[in-house]
Amino acid sequence: MTAVDQEYLKVIVFQLADKEYAIPVANVQGIEKLMHITRVPKTREFIKGVINLRGVVTPIIDLRERFGIPVSNHEETTRIIIITLEEMEVGFIVDSANDVIDIPADAIEAQPEVVGSNEEEFISGVSKLENRLLILLHLDKVLNP
């Protein structure tokens, strides 16, 4: 890693219910508006189905359901964040995608013991920036049951 990499981590920030989450930009392929999702039968609850992403059939996960947050109706701001992880391409449904920011590496802390919700196991760290608290996701764990 170069010195620059150590100093900053570029992340995409998105919103779920009242919390802000972050995924490294390197794992994000794009952000899409909500489109028609084809339901795939006999899959886990949180897998909403597949979409046609420019000719590639891409599975979609509802992050609210994945994290056990009560499901809300999809709104104008609802987005699908397409992420890639080791050849896998998956879309996450989020309430809104807000920002791309650089987080100083030393601003990332291990998660505090008492976050106290179901998504705890998916968190790799938290970062406090001014008055915002960003939750960094552990993509591996989000994707692998």
Partner: protein, 686 residues
């Protein structure tokens, strides 16, 4: 030098050379006295050695070198070709292949091959005394030969016609030059430079002759220099400066062809001619063979030089982009019909036609000859038959048959199993064959051909055939069929029992064709490719395993059906027919709803239940739409809401995240941009 950029090329070319080696070795085995073949092998091995040494793969270069020594000895008729020697050479080729594969997988290509090297050495020194005595002479001879080639390369010999042409044109005031061009040592693309030089020359005059010949120049069969005779009006200095503009040209020397020179060279030519005549009389047949071979390889190389390598990934991307276009075209077409603007309509129509042509090209680009799978079999059969002490002749027919590469990728292993099966269980040992009045040598024929939208691959042997009684007995004892059902089975059904899992008829389990796990894997693989396999067999006379495969896996015909809001695609290859049934047609048998379909009891599968389709209202329709599908001999009726129609669709995988979804074999993108799932009928019927 940075070598990484060449590694892909190196691997591809090494594979080709190794393939050429093994093909020619097999050929040599049939005609052990044909030294032209040995030369071919030698050439491949030599190139391979050079390449691997350049790339720094010492082990690879070393083993090739040892193999080359043996080949050289054969070539110089110091060793007589026999099966043992060929075995060792084959073994070396196998090792080389492994090394190359290892490099391809990112390894360092190292492998302990001391045993093989030892064997090669022993063969070589089997003629030790002779060898030692002759190496010096052969070396000398080689040097002499190559220098002779060089000399003659630098000398242009004109035949009568060419002489007349030159004489006449000089009389008419044209210049006739002999131009000797030397390329730099580091020149990588000699053929390209030659082309550029020729391009310049042809713009300035007429090339009468070149040495080496143009063919050879194109194939880079020359060292650094070549000579061209040119008739031109341009003067020497101008020509020289023009040619020097081509990069990597080191030296250009231009001499006027004077009449003196002419006479002189003519004399030299005749002298040499006399010499070579005496030599040639002894070598005529060989030389002819060589010529033929050379011609063959030239034509092959010619074809090759007109192709480029494109990575499969890029083709996949192209395919994806094209599919996007197809979808957009659909939208555009519907917009055009709405707007109904004549110019727009015309343009859209023209675009559609062009896209149809484009689609054909994109699809055929992904087709590759089945040869790429077949060409490993001759060697495999040879090894197997030697291991088993059987005499087997493998005939390959239709290797040029083209198949989509997705099918090619999958079909290799099943074919290996089937051929192993034919060799191991099919063909009898020579003793038994003789006792049965058959020729000792067994025949295995591998045949591929197109028919309609399918490709057929057949593996035929003239071996023992299937002993149906034994198969039945075994199947009953293994609990695959019951005694009662066995009575009603047709011959074909009994034959196909050997494809059932947990079945192995060979009395002795050999490591060649496994423990009966092989053939049922074959069946599953082929079915998963949308094909099927059948067996015909006559006891005592042999069997034919015949595989039917779709031409391409990426585009299939389906029937689109609708269940509530959802669209599903059912592959046409599994559909027998569709029908509408009334509620009263549905019968109950053992908690299973069935219908009477043309006198057969067919179980009904309600797709909405299988796929948990959310229903908005309780549909109590009196009529049901049913798609009758089949798997082997079994039928089932899939109940859906409505039929939409038949369509060609592009098959897409669901990706790595969604694996093993029950009864869904993939997805496709419809004209409206939505994804539809493809129903796996095989999974619905157990």
């Amino acid at each position: 030098m940075e070598l990484n950029q060449y590694i892909e090329m190196f691997i591809e070319e090494s594979k080709e050379h190794l393939q050429a080696c093994s093909d020619n070795l097999l050929e040599l085995e049939k005609n052990p006295n044909d030294l032209a073949i040995v030369n071919e092998i030698f050439r491949s091995a030599h190139t391979l050695k050079g390449m691997s040494a350049t790339m720094g793969y010492e082990d690879l270069a070393d083993l090739t070198h040892k193999m080359e020594n043996v080949l050289d000895a054969i070539r110089n008729e110091k060793i007589q070709v026999n099966a043992e020697i060929l075995d060792v050479v084959f073994e070396s080729v196998d090792h080389l292949e492994e090394m190359v594969m290892n490099i391809a997988d990112g390894g360092d290509g190292k492998k302990d091959v001391s045993a093989t090297v030892e064997k090669l050495k022993r063969i070589e020194s089997g003629e030790a005394i002779q060898q030692a005595a002759t190496t010096a002479t052969t070396a000398a001879a080689e040097v002499a030969a190559s220098s002779a080639v060089l000399d003659s390369a630098l000398q242009l010999h004109y035949d009568d016609f060419e002489k007349t042409v030159i004489l006449q044109s000089t009389e008419q005031g044209f210049n006739a030059f002999e131009i000797a061009v030397t390329l730099t040592d580091s020149c990588l693309l000699k053929a390209a430079r030659v082309y550029m030089v020729f391009d310049i020359l042809e713009k300035n005059g007429d090339v009468v002759k070149s040495s080496p010949t143009v063919d050879k120049l194109e194939e880079e069969q020359f060292d650094q220099d070549f000579k061209v005779a040119l008739i031109t009006q341009t003067d020497a200095d101008e020509l020289r400066s023009k040619i020097m503009k081509v990069s990597e040209v080191e030296k250009v020397s231009i001499t006027q062809i004077s009449n003196d020179l002419f006479v002189q060279s003519a004399v030299v030519a005749t002298e040499e001619f006399v010499e070579s005549v005496t030599e040639e009389t002894a070598l005529v047949p060989k030389a002819e063979v060589k010529k033929e071979e050379a011609q063959k390889s030239t034509s092959a190389k010619h074809a090759a030089s007109k192709t480029i390598r494109v990575s499969i990934e890029r083709l996949d991307i192209l395919m994806n982009l094209f599919e996007e276009l197809v979808i957009d075209r659909g939208r555009l077409q519907s917009i055009a019909t709405e707007v109904n603007h004549s110019e727009l309509n015309e343009t859209v129509e023209r675009m559609s036609r062009t896209m149809g042509d484009l689609q054909n090209i994109v699809l055929t680009m992904r087709m590759i000859p089945i040869e790429t799978v077949f060409n490993r079999f001759p060697k495999m059969v040879r090894t197997l038959s030697r291991d088993l002490n059987k005499k087997i002749n493998l005939e390959v027919i239709g290797a040029e048959t083209e198949l989509d590469r997705t099918v090619i990728d999958e079909i290799g292993d099943p074919l290996v199993h089937l051929i192993r099966n034919s060799v191991d269980h099919g063909i009898e040992s020579p003793e038994i064959r003789r006792a049965n009045g058959k020729p000792e040598e067994g025949n295995v024929t591998l045949r591929a051909y197109h028919s309609g939208n399918y490709v057929f691959i057949e593996i035929e042997d003239d071996g023992a055939g299937i002993n149906r009684e034994r198969v039945l007995k075994k199947a009953i004892s293994k609990g695959i069929v019951t005694k009662e059902s066995a009575l009603s089975m047709s011959d074909k059904q009994i034959n196909e029992l050997i494809l059932a899992s947990g079945f192995s008829t060979a009395e002795v389990i050999s490591d060649i064709s496994g423990r009966g796990v092989g053939l049922d894997v074959v069946k599953t693989t082929i079915e998963s490719l949308g094909g099927n396999i059948s067996i015909e067999s006559t006891e005592g006379a042999g069997s034919i395993f015949s595989i039917q495969l779709p031409l391409t896996l990426s585009i299939i015909s389906v029937m689109l059906v609708e269940i509530e809001q959802e669209t599903y695609a059912i592959p046409l290859s599994s559909i027998i027919e569709t029908s509408i049934i009334k509620n009263s047609d549905i019968l109950n048998a053992h908690n299973q709803k069935v219908i009477d379909f043309r006198g057969k009891v067919v179980p009904l599968i309600f797709l909405d239940e299988i796929f948990d389709v959310p229903r908005t209202d309780n549909n109590a329709d009196e009529y049901h739409s049913v798609v009758i599908v089949r798997k082997g001999d079994k039928l089932a009726g899939l109940v859906v809401d409505t039929f939409i129609g038949q369509q060609e669709i592009v098959l897409k995988s669901l990706g790595d995240y969604l694996l093993n979804i029950f009864a869904i074999s993939g997805a496709t993108i419809l004209g409206n941009g939505k994804v539809a799932l493809i129903v796996d009928c095989n999974a619905l019927m157990k």
